[in-house]
Symmetry: C2
Subunit: 300 residues, 2 copies
Amino acid sequence: MLRGMVRIIGADDLTAIVNTGDDTVFHGLHVSPDLDTVTYTVAEAIDPERGWGLSGESWRAMEALGRYAPFGALTWFNLGDTDLATHLFRTDRLRQGAPLSTVTAEIAAAWALPLRVLPMTDDPVATMVTTADGEMAFQEYFVGRRHDIDVTAVRFEGASTARPAPGVLDAIASADAIVICPSNPVVSIGPVLAVPGVRDAVVAARERVVAVSPIVGGAALKGPADRMLRGLGVEVSAVGVASWYREIAAALVIDDADAALAPAIEALDMRCVVTDTIMRTAEIAAAVSSAALGAVGPRH
Amino acid sequence: MLRGMVRIIGADDLTAIVNTGDDTVFHGLHVSPDLDTVTYTVAEAIDPERGWGLSGESWRAMEALGRYAPFGALTWFNLGDTDLATHLFRTDRLRQGAPLSTVTAEIAAAWALPLRVLPMTDDPVATMVTTADGEMAFQEYFVGRRHDIDVTAVRFEGASTARPAPGVLDAIASADAIVICPSNPVVSIGPVLAVPGVRDAVVAARERVVAVSPIVGGAALKGPADRMLRGLGVEVSAVGVASWYREIAAALVIDDADAALAPAIEALDMRCVVTDTIMRTAEIAAAVSSAALGAVGPRH
């Protein structure tokens, strides 16, 4: 989706506000999975098969770490050798006292990204999920347990005292259009909205806000969004997504497969755009971006 | 030298007390160069050409870090991909609150080392050298400047309040023999002796202490020991080494090339053993070890 946005919006006009609730410290390194996925994806350096990390990656450091597994080294969270450079740089800069937003801008510049990337906050926020096996940190659920366990509750530790990163509220207030990408509504979009001030800013901008449904044909295209919504009592459909976002978004983009649901979505006081949302190519991603922008403003 | 000691001493009877004054944090990782060199060398995993790091190493993480150099990433201190695993493990364990001596024992066990390895202290000590370009941390001098600058003074920051690691004083007090390996007397042996209590313990054991001269034929076999001794006003010869160690050691092993210096060393109240000290093979290293042990005790 973001690659599609980059195709039709100039670098000076595009800002990505990114979830950091998945951030964690592994092997002493500060890892920001969502920021890195945005960076590597827009840089077209991401591994297309895995959907995370860098293409052409090697795993020698992690393989060598196996020697220390009997003494407590975690080996279930893989960091590739070239990906490690990003975590080493970020960890070092944070240790020097640089805020995450500054380091994020440096990493974006190092990859010559054609957009501005902002973490939702410079403060620590940790997404915690409650499962049948108790509460656990997000990466333990998502990677360690391969999200193969039901989630009954989600909370964002630290969010209540976190402040939006510099530029976040301004970007929302001044945007011609705000696009909620088809990420997991609960654990990818949810943490961003949980930072005090962000949700209010988005609500105030509702007429310019459009979401793209991550649920197509009653299932998530990838990841556990469908099971999570179900676990939280939300209908797993584009209508369920509409009910989830109706207070903050004026429009919803849904897939052709769900065209019959448009009237039910419009009944929730949302405009509905029906199009092909399966972003198999950059061209389709650009078309989805155009459709989304078209739903909330005359400019595009 | 240590490989030679391992050949003739059983695992339960051999303890290496290792300098940590070179320890530093690079890229957020706690690096212990001397501990790792001991571990990798005894494990016969060290790169024989470089003399540090692991053999068969790759450098993909460091190469990737070059992307972040314009934003302050240090690139002059190389950590290989498989070597990184050791630093990741150590950093993580220290962050969990484990003392360095515990982590060092775990790393030694992970490599199945046939001896006990102790850091000189669990507390932070930093070797600082004064040069024509001012004072700098040891690794900046040794690696960053390739020790190509004169040193006029050395101090061990933190040493005065450091405590010997658990087992260090006991090992010295109970040892049948204490061998000071032919490391740099100033910056490799010096920091160990600077930890309060260690020098006194060695002085008390002087009759059981033997040093092996790192100066052969008026020069260091490797590294800057010769230039450092000269900078500190010490004669660069086996006699100079004898004068440096005479208070703590009863015997000195010198090379055949320096045989003519034996009377001058004996005049300093030290026994002198002359042998081939150029340890080209493990057999020669074992012979040097036997010669050293023979100088201070009947047991070997």
